[in-house]
């Protein structure tokens, strides 16, 4: 239990670090600080998708309902973080590039991820019977997961115009200031821990809601 408090303090430190300790990147100004929160959101969105796909495969092999529960819990959290990543990214884009949406590779991929999550839940809500729901959504999860590597190659081809992606070029291969990268990776670690904690809670709540209590309890 104590490590949860430690985690809370850790995240406070990360936030303080993001605002007070890390320097700003050239050309981005104070808006740099968004990347300490926006990028981990996008990372968690994909991590959640991976976790969900793994549990989907497990479900199909072992046929145990608990795996489907875990798969959909992970997907729910993933959806939330995808929405957050899309919104924060769009607002950041407005600040730096003066337009909310540009269809550059990063924006496109997060949008596609959003579509996949939405499709997954649309499928789940369209099937009533529990086993069937689990089977069908597990298969879709796997198919979608297989599509992702292709999208990584294909998406950069969408916007092949005079407008190169300013986010990737100056940031991608350029090393970050050491203080910035400390906070950056620290934030990554923090968000990942947050994800697994939320996942644990969601799974427990889903499991427990299957039990009925006797009256007078």
């Amino acid at each position: 239990m104590w490590w949860k408090s430690l985690f809370g303090i850790y995240m406070v430190l990360i936030i303080l670090g993001a605002f007070l300790y890390a320097p700003v990147a050239k050309g981005l100004g104070e808006t740099t600080r968004i990347l300490f929160f926006h990028v981990p959101c996008a990372w968690i969105a994909t991590l959640a998708f991976l976790v969900s796909a793994v549990y989907s495969i497990l479900y199909l092999r072992k046929q145990k309902m608990i795996h489907d529960l875990k798969a959909s819990s992970a997907a729910q959290i993933g959806l939330v973080f995808t929405i957050l990543a899309t919104i924060t990214g769009s607002i950041w884009a407005k600040q730096i590039w003066h337009s909310y949406w540009n269809w550059d590779p990063r924006e496109s991929s997060i949008f596609i991820l959003l579509l996949i999550y939405a499709a997954y839940f649309a499928l789940r809500s369209a099937v009533d019977e529990q086993n069937q729901k689990a089977r069908l959504s597990a298969v879709y999860s796997i198919i979608a997961f297989v599509t992702v590597p292709f999208l990584i190659f294909v998406v950069p081809r969408i916007v092949e115009s005079l407008h190169p992606d300013p986010l990737i070029n100056p940031r991608g291969k350029v090393d970050m200031d050491s203080r910035m990268s400390t906070v950056f990776f620290g934030s990554f670690v923090g968000f990942t821990a947050l994800f697994f904690w939320m996942l644990y809670l969601k799974i427990q709540i889903a499991r427990l809601s299957q039990f009925k209590f006797k009256p007078g309890d």
Partner: protein
């Protein structure tokens, strides 16, 4: 979940407002502290909510386990 989303939305809005006003680097540096405070509030809210959920889960889990025994 809705609470979480609206909290984050508030932060993001404020951040973008703060950012908008200091677009050419430090115009008024106190803005950044406003954003910092809000982010901290959001985080503490989220954190205590998670701790609360955690306690609820533990409570219910204990009850269920007793039942199973």
């Amino acid at each position: 979940m809705k609470v979480l989303i609206s909290m984050m939305q508030t932060v993001v809005d404020t951040v973008s407002n703060a950012m908008g006003s200091s677009q050419l680097d430090q115009t008024s540096s106190s803005d950044i502290y406003v954003v910092l405070t809000i982010t901290l509030i959001v985080w503490c809210g989220l954190f205590f909510y998670l701790v609360y959920l955690d306690r609820q889960v533990k409570k219910v889990k204990d009850r269920v386990e007793i039942k199973e025994n």
